[in-house]
């Protein structure tokens, strides 16, 4: 069996009485692509927020490479090697595209104020490396984000390109695991097909492990090794895409349940 990267144990959180997530048990191995699916409001984004340290769980534990992530600040989680994207694209809109990927290497670099003031050799070298790595991750998306684009503000990008830049920004933090929150949302079929291919490449060529929230079942089917289905904070199914898609509970969650049971 391959190396266990993420281990989620009995994870629950409540927001003022609302059980946004209850008793999620779940693991991710190195090199896997795991999808998290479920209807709107199922608690998927909340799950990501807990992993990345932006929401504190009410109970349960998150183990990453044998160590608990509980109580860490988001920046510390990122430094441990978990990067994420946001469902509602949140780029640094007034920074340039290159700066967006440069700034997210912050936790991998260490030159301080003195280095910048005296332009030490170390500073210049590091700056060079940051820039090269930034251009490299941008190059992953072909010519869309490089060239004259590098020094344009992120706010001028088209919607699809903003999503791509979000992924590039996560890649730039040199993570082990990338959490993608609805990466193809709002893209046209051609674009989402292309991105599906790229997600595969992220694992095969870059060696990232991927946890992905996605509503587009085509994408989920094409790339995932395993699928977890959430509904109202509960885990209703886990397994391969085929197993999950034929599970009656999942079908019910998506198509609605009999009226008397709905609250």
């Amino acid at each position: 069996m391959s190396e266990r990267l993420l281990d989620i144990k009995n994870l629950s959180v409540t927001f003022g009485g609302l059980n946004a997530l209850s008793d999620l048990d779940f693991h991710v191995d190195k090199g896997e692509i795991v999808s998290v699916i479920g209807p709107n409001g199922a608690g998927k984004t909340t799950f990501f927020n807990m992993i990345s340290g932006m929401v504190t769980p009410t109970s349960g534990d998150i183990i990453f490479r044998g160590e608990s992530l509980l109580g860490l600040d988001p920046n510390q989680v990122t430094a441990r090697g978990i990067a994420r994207t946001f469902q509602n694209v949140r780029l640094f809109a007034n920074m340039t595209i290159l700066e967006n990927v440069m700034v997210s290497q912050h936790c991998r670099t260490k030159q301080g104020i003195m280095g910048a003031l005296f332009q030490t050799g170390g500073f210049k070298r590091e700056e060079q490396e940051i820039r090269e790595h930034g251009e490299k991750v941008l190059g992953f998306f072909g010519s869309r984000l490089v060239g004259y684009r590098l020094n344009q503000p992120a706010s001028v990008l088209s919607y699809a390109n903003r999503r791509r830049l979000e992924i590039a920004r996560a890649m730039a933090t040199k993570p082990e695991v990338i959490l993608l929150d609805e990466p193809v949302a709002g893209m046209n079929p051609k674009e989402s097909e292309e991105l599906t291919g790229l997600i595969g490449k992220l694992r095969d060529e870059w060696g990232f492990t991927i946890v992905m929230i996605e509503h587009d079942m085509g994408v989920v089917r094409d790339v995932s090794d395993r699928v977890v289905v959430l509904d109202h904070g509960e885990t209703i199914a886990q397994g391969s895409y085929d197993e999950v898609s034929s599970n009656p509970a999942v079908i019910e969650a998506y198509l609605g349940r009999p009226a008397e049971e709905a609250s």
């Binding site: 990345s52 340290g53 932006m54 600040d73 988001p74 920046n75 990122t78 430094a79 990067a83 994420r84 946001f86 949140r90 640094f92 809109a93 007034n94 920074m95 340039t96 700066e99 440069m102 700034v103 997210s104 290497q105 912050h106 936790c107 991998r108 670099t109 030159q111 301080g112 104020i113 280095g115 910048a116 003031l117 332009q119 500073f123 590091e126 700056e127 940051i130 010519s143 869309r144 004259y148 020094n151 344009q152 503000p153 706010s155 001028v156 990008l157 088209s158 699809a160 390109n161 920004r169 933090t173």
Partner: protein, 608 residues
Amino acid sequence: MSETMNTDDAVVLAPARSAFDQDWRKIVNWGLICALALIFVSLTDMPDKLDKRVIVEPLLSMGYLSLIWIPIALGNFVTREVVLEGMAQHKKGLRELVAGVSVGAIGGAGLALLIWLLDTRDLSDPLVNWNDALLEVLSFGEGVGYGAIFWILASAGLGLAGGALHLLPAIANRLLFAISLTIVLSASLESALDDISEGFQLEWLFEALFEKKGGLSVQGAIILAVFAIAWVLFLGGQAKRGRAAVAARRELSPTKVNTVGLVLIAVAAVVLPMFLGRLTNDLLTNVGLFLLLALGLNIVVGLAGILDLGYVAFYAVGGYTAAIMTSPTSPGLSPELPWWVAIFVVVFMAIVAGLFIGAPVIRMRGDYLAIVTLGFGEIIRLTVRSDWASGFTGGAQGILSIPGADIVGIATVKGTDPQQVLYLVIGFVAIAIYVSWRLENSRIGRAWMAVREDESVAEAMGINTVNSKLQAFVVGAILASFSGAIFAAKVGSVFESSFKILVSIVILVIVIVGGMGRIAGVAAGALVLVGILGGPNQPGLLAEFSEFKLLIYGALLIWMMLKRPEGLIPNVRRSRELHQDEFLQDAWLKAQADDDDDEAVSGEAAPA
């Protein structure tokens, strides 16, 4: 606003409507605003108090200028419309003139009413400026009827002129603007120009332009106007092209700077003080001290987005530490260090103060932070003043006999010699500019910007936001403390009254009016505000304005925030952020034409 919208064509001229078929309610509203503004300015007594400050000798004084700009501006605004790309635009014509003249006439009627009331009623009890002197100025000493009719006609005429600006071609507008700016600016700078012309032995030029008793001569005004026209028509065009080229290069590689410009500025900074007189040197020293403060605050507010309203605290820390360390008469502790050694203590204290104030506030919501820092600023000032701390700080008596700044034993900068102090200030401003520039283009600076853009995303991208913000806070604190230390050496004494909240606010106004996040903008802000209007306790070139300067600061701050939040010389990023709607619309419209991979976008969102 136009109701017709044509989507086929980018710019469509809607058919001209009759001159009287317009939105009269809007016109009356603007007219009333005009009347209120004229009455308000009259009651502040600006027309009377500023009458002595002449712009063009027999024709125009600052006093009358304070009134006449109002109908012109409002007569122009009333028919101004937001022109969006793809929207229909009206053909300009008689309509604009009618609207302008009406607004001006209503405003003038308001002023006429005031003149009549001034004559018949006595409201001098609450309104201190309600007196005959004001009546005299407003009616030119010719009686109420004359004054009233004059102002109705004059104001209508000015409103008409304002409306007519819409009809003139763009180049004519530019020329008029340049001419008025040159003349008003030259008149404002009169005493400085006098001083400078002496240093360069150009008295003949000064005498050709200015009258002996003050103000430009008519001939001088004409010369300046010709100069302004020449500038706009010939040099201006080239300068603009040059700037555009530089801007284009900046856009591609933001770290490159204009070396030629830098060298020129450096040479000027070294050579100029030698030719300047006492007055100008002193003035520039004040500008420099505030520039130093503003550059520091610019890092805190402009780059890291932390609104620190207690910034004066660090200025005070610098001033008092330098005073205690160098003055032989400081009570309590008196090591009498030379100034250049004391500056290390100052930096140390600034770091301590920065961390001490920064740590508790750094996690607060932006606006709470503003109030709490303001509170810290007051706590420090009140403590310094109290009997409790007077053993070290001298309490209300302050600390006196601070010797000048001793520079590593090479030279002693005497506080009484403005030229030497100016060199000292320039040195530190240069350091501050270097620091701002290097940090902005470094890992730290990028982290600051990210924190400013979206703190929780910055945190999720691996930036320790608390540490980043603390760093900005401390760097800002150090720069402010430099300013304080120089201030102490320059004045030779420190009192708590130099460190009131007002100072924090004035620094903030400088940063905002100049252009947050942009070094050149901050410098322009300091020059215009502190140099011309004056600092919180320092007179500027327009000494007559001292009574009104804070009023003007307030009005400027509001106006800038409403109309030009990016400042006089904006930071490209910042103007994008603030005009995001327009900018995105622009980008979107352009993207419609191109396909996904080609959203070309113009760099500038703000009009020149």
